[in-house]
């Protein structure tokens, strides 16, 4: 309760400072609207469904691309951890591409796939895949070899050992890779949506860019807030429960 209260006080203070800066007249209101104007915009766009529609489009792209990234990344990481040859080839590639900000894929994506959903998915996959691959690889390498030995003495064969011992044992690493992959995917998708007008769907990034074109900064800030809130909610709803479960099992993460 005390923690909730301190959060609330902090954010109220933040909004107050924002409002105060507006009142000083540092920037004209067209460029820096006050919190009430942004609130008005959010209220109106929630009522007419703009935000809802755009979030739906964006989240579909995000979850589809991210899902594909995970489905490809985990087996890829298992392969790089298991086979020296794949480690020296695909592993190096993954390491290199992970350092490449995935927004760099946007120009190629447009040329290859045009102004379609495929470009969006491509960018999101490129953003998440390598983080997941590398953390899976890393997690598997950090599994104490004695786990696999113990499993073998209990009669576990290769496949069973991989699915029931090595993967669960690497879960903390894989999860942190998934979180990083999520953050990369989210950033790169926003960049892609701002750069590329896609005819098949109007995402949050495009609503934001549209706001800039219309010189409607209340819209820009409003959409930014929505993006932040979605990120927070996903973290709390998707990752936090899994993290808590892992901490409870492993006995880690206690202050």
């Amino acid at each position: 309760m005390k923690r909730v209260l301190s959060s609330i006080i902090f954010f109220v203070a933040l909004v107050a400072i924002w409002h105060f800066v507006v009142l000083t007249g540092w920037k004209p209101r067209v460029l820096l609207p006050d919190p009430f104007a942004v609130g008005e915009y959010l209220k109106a766009s929630l009522m007419d469904g703009t935000i809802f529609q755009a979030s739906k489009v964006t989240l579909w792209r995000l979850f589809t691309g991210y899902g594909i990234g995970i489905i490809l990344g985990i087996p890829l990481g298992m392969l790089t951890a298991k086979f020296r040859f794949i480690e020296d080839t695909v592993g190096v590639l993954a390491l290199g591409l992970q350092t490449l900000p995935s927004v760099c894929w946007v120009p190629l994506g447009i040329m290859w796939f045009g102004q379609t959903e495929a470009t969006m998915l491509f960018v999101v996959i490129m953003g998440s895949l390598w983080s997941v691959t590398i953390s899976t690889d890393n997690g598997i390498r950090n599994v104490p070899p004695i786990f696999a030995r113990a499993a073998r003495t209990m009669g576990a064969k290769q496949f069973y050992t991989w699915t029931r011992v090595i993967l669960p044992a690497s879960a903390p690493f894989i999860l942190s890779g998934m979180k990083q992959g999520w953050a990369f995917a989210w950033r790169s998708l926003m960049a892609a949506e701002i750069f590329v007008p896609i005819l098949t769907g109007f995402g949050l990034g495009q609503v934001l860019q549209y706001g800039r074109d219309l010189n409607a900064m209340d819209q820009v800030i409003g959409v930014m807030l929505v993006i932040v809130i979605i990120g927070l909610v996903v973290d709390k709803v998707l990752f936090s429960p899994i993290e808590r479960l892992l901490h409870r099992r492993w006995g880690t993460g206690k202050a």
């Binding site: 030995r149 113990a150 009669g155 069973y160 044992a169």
Partner: protein
């Protein structure tokens, strides 16, 4: 009732180690870990392999387990050669090697899940039986990190016993525990050996521990690893590690060990 059958004692197995040699490549050349080791282990023996580190006793245990292959020679269980790990020979390691993502009961169930001819209800019953045997029935749903070192080794023991192996291979299982906990476990393992009728091969560098537990104590010397001498401990079980007779055996064994060591063996001392 298959559950009765499952919990029924399986006869302990006899083992024969026949001229087993094993060497490892190290940076400074080849290390002869085991040199022509032969050893007969009878049904229901509690045999302790003692020697300084580097004498190959753990390597021999891994070969019996089927986790490693000898360069030459072979291990026979009831006349059949050991070709790989198997449920009838379970290994308990120095580290508990319990899986932190599973609770205590599910850890014990892990090996049972791979055992055919049991349904899940029966598996749970079997697992609970062994948790009771090691005194952990109240911790069935505890997470691994919540257990003390001694409790972890008890859980590991239950996990090893659950598939009802005929041979139990123990690789310094109590070395990392404090003295008090260790003494409790000496009592437990002697009781379980008597109750469950297993052949136990127990590796240790602690002479008193070996004298306390084994009916046979086999001494190894290093570089290359060889069997040097065997002691029979003719004291009735359960034995108290602090008893005077046991101390006499232990000092005889220690003297023998020091006799064929080139450098003074500090590692022998408890």
């Amino acid at each position: 009732m298959p559950i009765k059958e499952e919990l029924y004692f399986v006869p302990p197995a006899k083992l024969r180690i026949d001229r087993v040699s094993k060497s490892f490549a190290t940076r400074s050349g080849t290390l002869q870990a085991l040199d022509q080791i032969s050893l007969k282990i009878n049904e229901g023996d509690f045999i302790c392999l003692v020697g300084p580190s580097g004498c190959g006793k753990s390597t021999l245990l891994n070969i019996i387990a089927g986790l490693e292959k000898p360069d030459s020679g072979e291990t026979l269980m009831d006349g059949k050669p050991v070709t790989g790990p198997g449920r009838e020979r379970m290994v308990m390691f120095q580290e508990p090697a319990l899986f932190p993502w599973l609770d205590v009961l599910k850890n014990v169930l892990f090996g049972l899940k791979l055992k055919p001819n049991l349904n899940n209800k029966e598996r749970r019953e079997v697992a609970q039986f062994y948790l009771r045997l090691v005194g952990l029935e109240e911790f069935a749903h505890a997470n691994i990190h919540e257990l003390s070192g001694g409790m972890k080794q008890r859980a590991a023991l239950a996990r090893c016993l659950a598939p009802n192996p005929r041979v139990l291979l123990m690789d310094e299982p109590f070395a990392a525990l404090d003295a008090l906990t260790r003494e409790q476990l000496y009592g437990d393992i002697q009781r379980i050996w008597a109750e469950r009728k297993k052949t136990i091969v127990f590796v240790t560098h602690n002479v008193r521990e070996a004298a306390c537990l084994g009916n046979r104590v086999v001494l190894f010397s290093p570089h290359p690893g060889r069997v040097r001498e065997e002691f029979r401990i003719d004291l009735p079980h359960p034995r108290d590690i602090n008893s005077v007779e046991l101390a006499k055996y232990a000092s005889r064994i220690t003297r023998a060990l020091k006799g064929y060591e080139n450098s003074p063996g500090t590692e022998m001392a408890e």
